[in-house]
Assembly symmetry: C2
Homo-oligomer: 242 residues x 2
Amino acid sequence: MIYELYYWPGIQGRGEFVRLALEQAGAEYRDIALVPEEEGGGVAALVKFLDGADVAHPPFAPPFLKAGRMLIGQTANILLYLGPRLGLVPRDQSGRVWTHQLQLTLADFVVEIHDTHHPIGGGLYYEQQKPQAKRRSRDFLAHRLPKFLGYFERVLERNPDSDEWMVGRELSYADLSLAQVLAGLRYAFPRASREALRACPRLRALHDAVFALPRIRRYVASGRRLAFNKHDIFRRYPELDG
Amino acid sequence: MIYELYYWPGIQGRGEFVRLALEQAGAEYRDIALVPEEEGGGVAALVKFLDGADVAHPPFAPPFLKAGRMLIGQTANILLYLGPRLGLVPRDQSGRVWTHQLQLTLADFVVEIHDTHHPIGGGLYYEQQKPQAKRRSRDFLAHRLPKFLGYFERVLERNPDSDEWMVGRELSYADLSLAQVLAGLRYAFPRASREALRACPRLRALHDAVFALPRIRRYVASGRRLAFNKHDIFRRYPELDG
């Protein structure tokens, strides 16, 4: 099956969590964000599914995945579906439920990271909410960042089956997503995340291990992985970095 | 199996989405929030799982569910697990994936509703972020509320198998959660939600149908369902109501 991934062009965004899983599994997929509009890709292709009156299961927002006749929205839901098919989740139910739980906690973390620069409204510009962004970032860096990082460090520490990954013996999609969040934090908050990650040797090792995986390295080197930028979830505004 | 539900005492919160499913299914469960600390309930019982050094799969936050030897966190993940066991989700994979997708979209909606009164930080008091809450609420009521409600109205409209429920022929856990969100919105934003729901006859009908279900009525009348209040996700601050 050739999967089709739909996401906004020009940013990694939440689409990147799905891309990393597809890439690591060596899955065949079309990244519709990279397909020109003239060839049926880009924003026009998204809008057809978001606004089309004949879509039975309309997604609320990208990313969404076309898998045969199924149309699947919500990042964590896409990964829940792909996990067993891509070999990125344990076989046993307990391991699968736990991996999904970790992914949902990462999703919560991502919302809070995003809202550091958009505390008042996602439809407004950053420039329209700078003082509020500063206050929210201060709170985030003081309380939420160490809480989330400490949590995932503990999860790694308590996995009896691996010194490297969060669930069972093997790499899971949640490990890929966690590495992506860490990369994003280092981009957005270089100072504060260096500080916070001092206490988290396992997280630092996981980040490096994921980005050293041959297929992930090849993907990063391919040019298909976009650079972090200021239209994305993770944004580098030095004034917010503690 | 007797399930054990762990959540903060004194509020409905995210625990209520799980309670409604358990109640509607007539499942046996212990609501640990209602058990006194002396009898092993309350906050102390929560903390044992949140902070205990011997918990293999620690939840990041309540609610979490003990189901035999499994400990399951994240509201949507709990419902994903319970759905088939409680008969609150279709049998086919496509219906299950779709129900979970709707639940995750409701979870996103709930975060945005909560953040109307806490745009700067969940650890601060409302009184420390009142002007920001006002601005965020204005943006929420103008843009996000109609967008989310319009989305779920459309989902109901497009379900070919039912005039009442979102997925397939039967009630699902996502319908219960949607009714709870609507009840919460009516409590928090009586004026703005009345206005916004004018265009959403299917949502109004779904709300009424859920709260007319005999088991849900019995639950509401039992005294075990707490009232909405100002420590919860949905809060009535008249100054935020448009």
